[in-house]
């Protein structure tokens, strides 16, 4: 499974890796939603640091997770998205609902 889930207090961190498209997003969604329903996090961090490819399915993935986390009263943070991913995310205006943290410069 190209996602590692970590619970840190009331924060749930989802480290995604590999390619995110409509095909792979189906399994990602199931795994992450399972954890969200269990943890009901105040903050969901979606980390794109190890993602090698993403199309607009990745944007849909963030939007879908926002809806679920928001249902439990939590917030969503997008981390380590590449410039290309940020460009796609901004086409959706997602920064209005999710916080986008800049990529670690150290990498």
């Amino acid at each position: 499974m190209p996602v590692k889930l970590n619970k840190e207090g009331t924060t749930l961190v989802a480290f995604l890796s590999g390619e995110i498209d409509h095909h792979s997003a189906i399994a990602l969604r199931e795994a992450v939603d399972g954890a969200i329903k269990l943890v009901k996090p105040e903050r969901l961090e979606i980390d794109f640091g190890d993602v090698t490819f993403m199309d607009s399915s990745g944007v849909g993935f963030v939007m879908g997770r926002y809806k679920l986390v928001n249902f439990y009263g939590g917030t969503v943070v997008v981390k380590n998205a590449s410039e290309r991913m940020e460009r796609m995310l901004s086409l959706s205006g997602i920064e209005k609902i999710a916080l986008i943290e800049k990529r670690d410069k150290a990498v």
Partner: protein, 143 residues
């Protein structure tokens, strides 16, 4: 003016979601002979992924049909045609509007916006009940 054709690839894939990755790899492999930058390759991979996903999610929905991909090179320009014989689009203008989707929460409604943003040109032809063809062009600057 369009330069003479220097290379061509034709590919037929079934509309199964695992073929989204296959289409990306095939097209990027074909384009790689022009020595594109990583950015250019990624632009093309993303646009192809969007067009093929549309065929799977919309054109053929719950059925399996064929997706016809034709790539040709004319000098440093790559022309990509992605065609299906699916349901067609009743209102292309609406379908191309960013964030518009008929598929609910998990689809962003950005497919055409992404193709438009990452390619140098995009044209869509569609006939209801007959299918849709997407034409895209990318100019390769090379490394």
């Amino acid at each position: 003016m369009k330069e003479a054709k220097t290379n061509e690839m034709r590919l037929v894939l079934e509309s199964r979601s695992q073929n989204e990755g296959v289409a990306r790899i095939a097209v990027s492999g074909f384009v790689s002979t022009l020595d594109p930058t990583i950015e250019e390759i990624n632009d093309i991979k993303t646009a192809v992924s969007e067009a093929v996903t549309n065929c799977i999610v919309h054109a053929y929905e719950d059925t399996v049909g064929k997706i016809y991909i034709t790539c040709s090179m004319h000098g440093k320009s790559v022309y990509i045609k992605i065609k299906d014989n699916g349901c067609g689009i009743s209102d292309i203008e609406k379908a191309m509007t960013p964030l518009y989707t008929t598929k609910g929460d998990e689809r962003s409604g950005l497919g055409f916006a992404v193709m438009e943003s990452f390619m140098d040109s995009l044209r869509v032809r569609s006939v209801c009940g007959k299918g849709t063809t997407v034409y895209m062009k990318k100019n390769i600057s090379g490394k």
